[in-house]
């Protein structure tokens, strides 16, 4: 055993696990993440995988990555570039080298750099980056992970293929050693996962320990690193992804409102995990319905809401497009409904596994006729919980469909979450109409209250039998009406109802920065961390820059116009070709500037910082 190792304190580390999509890098990353989280270290993750389940082995399109940023300081993003790159093969190195910091560490699985792998990664004949000196500026740990794993498992009665599958556990064990960790969390995880497969369990545990011991006994490794826990607000935390938080938010809102939850959904990347998660929680009375298509997904949810449950449908861009007619029906029926769009690169099938703020304009305008509905967006993975809770509240209290926007980056990314106590969650009051009021002779389904909201009378309620539908309704009676004045009135009333939501949401606040100044960065959705990081850094450098982040996109908070006018410039960074900026310019007639990245990847803090500096001259 080596006794020479020293432990070095670090404040901030970004690791990227990269390998073939069959190499188990996502699982390895998640395990290291949980282990990190349990130590109270702040973190943010960014999984990045190919659209194909098994893209051709060893090739560049087949590379699957998982980036983890952990720190003793507050973490806002998964990191612009990484300190450590785990490359299970040549393609993984090639695809990720550009995001490795100069002088960073490369952990290379030498077996993944044989002639075949080098060829598959498109290296010229005879070129091996491990030997040609091109990596001289980095610290390279060459480990024959395949061979070492096979050796460690030589007494386990598994086939070679199965043994090789434990490679990722070797890597994980080595990293646990390198970052001075205990391995209990992963040992428990494996014991549970492979409870019924003792041989596979044995293989994985052996590989895990072998990786750890390899670090311990190999003299080449003299330094271990430790990152201390972050100073986070007091409380109890867990690690959570956006899609998990969203599912929990829906269940919590269902419990607090007393409305049974119904999800009508068709599988689509990157939204399917919500369906998976919700389908587990039947003991909360959750009903999940895997519909035959996107249209049936939303239509069944409309049926559920009509019946007095909370109907929800989940999807991504192409599915949103398919659901638009039914959304119009929900607007006409004026019933609660949640349409959850986990955005991805578009148009058409686009980039299924890549992130993009692709659908804001679709959410705003993408329906026939004058068809307004509230739009709400989450900013971070854990923010999905409270944002969807709020969307649920607005839907039931305003008898309206609500669109909720998340994206692939938020959906799959993880961060620590100081989860609330059930008792502390705000109540969601629901009013059903149960009988005719005094003096009321006949039920008037479109009689509105002072907020323009119509009553919710569900089948099974005696005396309130009525008919609703997609044809224009007569004001108050809800009968079919083609009257010109009535149509004008109803269009205005439906708009007024959505506008009235602005009276019932918090005023916009600044995330950071002065109340007036040179520049305001206005963001929405998953750009939150990058904007926050860039703006904070600029503030430290003395710039008068502020950051406001919108959760309520329709209607906007009532004071937004006022805020926008307090700055000489307004910059709206988006992962699209400029969507919020169009709406802001339209509603507030200001000369907002855009910053648009449409590459399927998040905006980084440093590029944004540079851009803001260039605007400030």
């Amino acid at each position: 055993m080596s006794t020479q190792t020293t432990v070095q304190q670090l404040r901030d580390v970004v690791i990227k696990f990269a390998g073939d999509s069959g190499d188990g890098m996502q699982l390895t990353g998640m395990q290291f993440t949980n282990n990190t989280a349990l130590l109270g270290i702040d973190l943010s993750t960014f999984p990045d995988f190919p659209a194909e389940i098994r893209a051709p082995q060893g090739t560049l399109p087949g590379v699957s990555g998982f980036q983890l940023h952990f720190s003793s300081d507050p973490v806002y993003t998964p990191g612009d570039s990484c300190d450590v790159l785990v490359a299970m093969n040549a393609a993984a190195l090639k695809a990720n080298l550009k995001s490795l910091k100069k002088g960073g560490i490369i952990i290379a699985n030498t077996d993944g750099f044989d002639a075949k792998n080098l060829r598959l990664a498109n290296y010229p004949e005879g070129v091996n980056p491990l030997t040609d000196g091109s990596l001289d500026g980095y610290i390279v740990y060459e480990i024959d992970i395949t061979k070492l794993t096979r050796e460690a498992l030589k007494d386990v009665d598994l086939g070679m293929k199965e043994k090789d599958r434990a490679k990722n556990m070797f890597v994980l064990g080595f990293l646990y050693w390198l970052y001075d960790r205990k391995m209990e969390s992963t040992i428990h995880f494996l014991q549970e996962k492979f409870a019924k497969k003792p041989l596979i369990l044995e293989g994985n545990l052996k590989a895990l320990h072998a990786g750890y011991n390899y670090g311990d006994t190999t003299e080449a490794f003299t330094t271990r690193y430790r990152v201390e826990r972050a100073k986070m607000p007091r409380g109890t935390y867990r690690s959570i992804t956006g899609n998990q938080a969203l599912a929990l938010g829906l269940i919590a809102a269902s419990q607090k409102s007393g409305l049974p939850l119904f999800l009508g959904s068709y599988p689509i990347t990157p939204a399917s995990d919500i369906l998976h998660e919700l389908s587990k929680h039947k003991n909360f009375g959750v009903r999940t319905f895997q519909a035959e298509d996107e249209i049936a997904g939303i239509s069944s949810a409309i049926g559920a809401s009509y019946g007095g449950c909370m109907g929800v449908t989940t999807t991504s861009g192409p599915g949103m497009a398919l659901k638009t007619e039914a959304m119009g029906l929900a607007v006409m029926l004026e019933i609660p409904l949640l349409i959850i769009d986990i955005q991805r690169g578009g148009p058409s099938t686009g980039l299924p596994t890549k992130t993009e703020q692709s659908d804001l304009l679709q959410a705003y305008y993408g329906r026939n006729g004058e068809c307004p509905m509230p739009v709400i967006a989450a900013a971070t993975p854990s923010d999905c919980f409270s944002a969807v809770y709020e969307a649920f509240r607005i839907a039931v209290q305003y008898m309206t469909p609500v669109i909720f926007l998340s994206d692939g980056y938020i959906a799959n990314g993880a961060e620590p979450w100081r989860f609330p106590k059930a008792a502390d969650l705000p109540p969601i009051e629901v009013k059903f109409k149960t009988q005719l009021d005094e003096g009321e002779e006949k039920f008037m389904p479109y009689q509105r209250d002072e907020r323009y909201v119509r009553p919710w009378a569900v089948p099974g309620t005696p005396g309130l039998e009525h008919r609703i539908g997609g044809l224009e309704k007569q004001h108050i009676t809800g009968n079919v009406s083609y009257d010109p004045d009535n149509h004008q009135l109803m269009v205005k009333l439906r708009q007024a109802k959505v506008d009235a939501v602005a009276d019932d949401i918090p005023l916009q606040t600044l995330d950071s920065g002065p109340e007036s100044g040179d520049l305001l960065v206005l963001g929405w959705g998953s750009t939150y961390g990058a904007i926050k990081g860039a703006v904070k850094s600029l503030q430290q450098q003395g710039y008068a820059v502020a950051h406001a982040h919108l959760r309520y996109l329709r209607p906007f908070p009532k004071n937004l116009g006022e805020i926008l006018r307090n700055y000489k410039q307004v910059l709206i960074p988006e992962i699209n070709n400029g969507q919020l900026i169009k709406i802001i310019r339209d509603q507030f007639l200001i000369d907002a500037k855009g910053y648009h990245k449409i590459m399927g990847i998040p905006i980084t803090k440093s590029e944004l910082e540079e851009h803001i500096k260039s605007l400030l001259g």
């Binding site: 989280a37 349990l38 109270g40 969390s185 007091r234 409380g235 109890t236 935390y237 867990r238 690690s239 959570i240 929990l248 269940i251 919590a252 419990q255 007393g258 049974p260 119904f262 929680h281 039947k282 003991n283 909360f284 009375g285 009903r287 319905f289 519909a291 035959e292 298509d293 249209i295 049936a296 239509s299 069944s300 409309i302 049926g303 559920a304 009509y306 019946g307 007095g308 449950c309 109907g311 039914a326 029906l329 989860f419 106590k421 059930a422 569900v458 089948p459 099974g460 309620t461 005696p462 005396g463 309130l464 039998e465 009525h466 008919r467 609703i468 539908g469 997609g470 009968n479 079919v480």
Partner: protein, 345 residues
């Protein structure tokens, strides 16, 4: 939610099911008769009016909910079946009726139709088949016969039509029946049967569109030809037809043949209808000949097939109960905490 309070319906009459809305179908449309039969049957079913929901899509037939004093939704084209699925999943105690047409249910909504049938939600699907698009003023539909001249097929339709009952059976429907607007008694019987069946009931109703496809089913509905051109199925009874009741269908091995009782066959030799025999039902729905072709079979009416299979909502409820039994009623605090937490003091 609790809206299931059992109450004995006070005795209702057909009038209680009529609304104050002016019925807007063309005078003479077959829809009037169907509405009347539904309003006649409803009070006899013993369901409180508030527990009945009628959901329709788009098309002439889909105006139906406006004329029924129950809960109702006139939804969007083709989606009534999907909307009803969500409603029924959440509110199994409701009596849900879907009113659709050949365009709504078999063209734009065909995708959902087969799925609601295979899932076997306990709903009643009334498919008004008039073999034409009425509301859009006369284009051919997926049940229109080949060579049909319509506004959109001036040279005749080259579309091969659906056989709705065969399609339903192919989708593993647990109840498949056919009736017609012009036979009130039979239609009432079929409506009652559809209601009595637990599971998805598919009832195709031949409906005359006197404006765009007048007389499409004349040969089956008019006195002069009805007896010879139709065969009314009754469980356990031989397949007999004809004005003289002297013709029947016999199974010659696996081949149905029309025989005359005057030529040495007796009723005992005939095919005895068994509603629960899937194989025979598959042959019966295929008796779908063009009546203008020499040697054609009479068109069957009645219940082709009925089977018992648990309904979707029943199975869904069972899973919820099983999960609750196993894990207890969901504890939100536990759920929010997940399996691994850490505390910062």
């Amino acid at each position: 939610m609790d809206t299931t309070a059992v109450q004995t319906p006070q005795s209702l009459t057909p009038k209680d099911f009529a609304t104050d809305q002016e019925v807007r179908w063309c005078p003479g449309c077959g829809d009037y008769s169907i509405l009347k039969q539904v309003q006649t049957v409803m009070p006899t079913l013993g369901i409180p009016r508030e527990n009945i929901v009628i959901i329709s899509g788009i098309g002439c037939s889909s105006r139906f909910p406006y004329y029924m004093n129950t809960y109702g939704m006139h939804s969007i084209h083709g989606r009534a079946t999907a909307i009803a699925s969500g409603l029924k999943a959440c509110r199994p105690e409701l009596s849900v009726w879907i009113v659709t047409g050949d365009g709504d249910g078999l063209s734009i909504g065909a995708g959902h139709m087969v799925h609601i049938l295979r899932r076997n939600f306990d709903v009643n699907i009334l498919l008004f088949n008039n073999q034409i698009y009425g509301l859009t003023k006369g284009q051919y539909s997926p049940t229109s016969e080949e060579n049909k001249i319509t506004k959109s097929t001036p040279y005749g339709s080259i579309d091969h039509p659906f056989n709705p009952a065969a399609l339903a059976l192919g989708a593993d429907a647990t109840f498949v029946a056919r009736s017609m607007d012009r036979d009130p008694k039979h239609l009432q019987d079929m409506l009652k049967r559809a209601h009595a069946h637990k599971g998805a009931s598919f009832l195709e109703i031949y409906q005359n569109c006197n404006i765009f496809n007048d007389g499409a089913f004349e040969i089956f509905t008019e006195k002069a030809t009805k007896a010879d051109e139709t065969i009314f199925l009754e469980h356990g009874k031989p397949l007999l037809f004809g004005a003289q009741r002297n013709k029947g269908i016999r199974l010659d091995g696996l081949k149905p043949v029309v025989v005359s009782l005057d030529e040495g066959y007796s009723a005992d030799d005939l095919w005895i209808h068994d509603e629960h025999d899937l194989y025979k039902a598959q042959m019966l729905v295929r008796l779908f000949d063009d009546p203008s072709v020499e040697g054609h079979f009479p068109r069957p009416f009645g219940v082709f097939y009925e089977a018992q299979r648990p309904s979707y909502e029943e199975l869904m409820q069972q899973q919820i109960e099983a999960a609750t039994g196993k894990y207890g009623v969901g504890d939100l605090d536990k759920l929010l905490a997940g399996s691994e937490t850490w505390t910062i003091y």
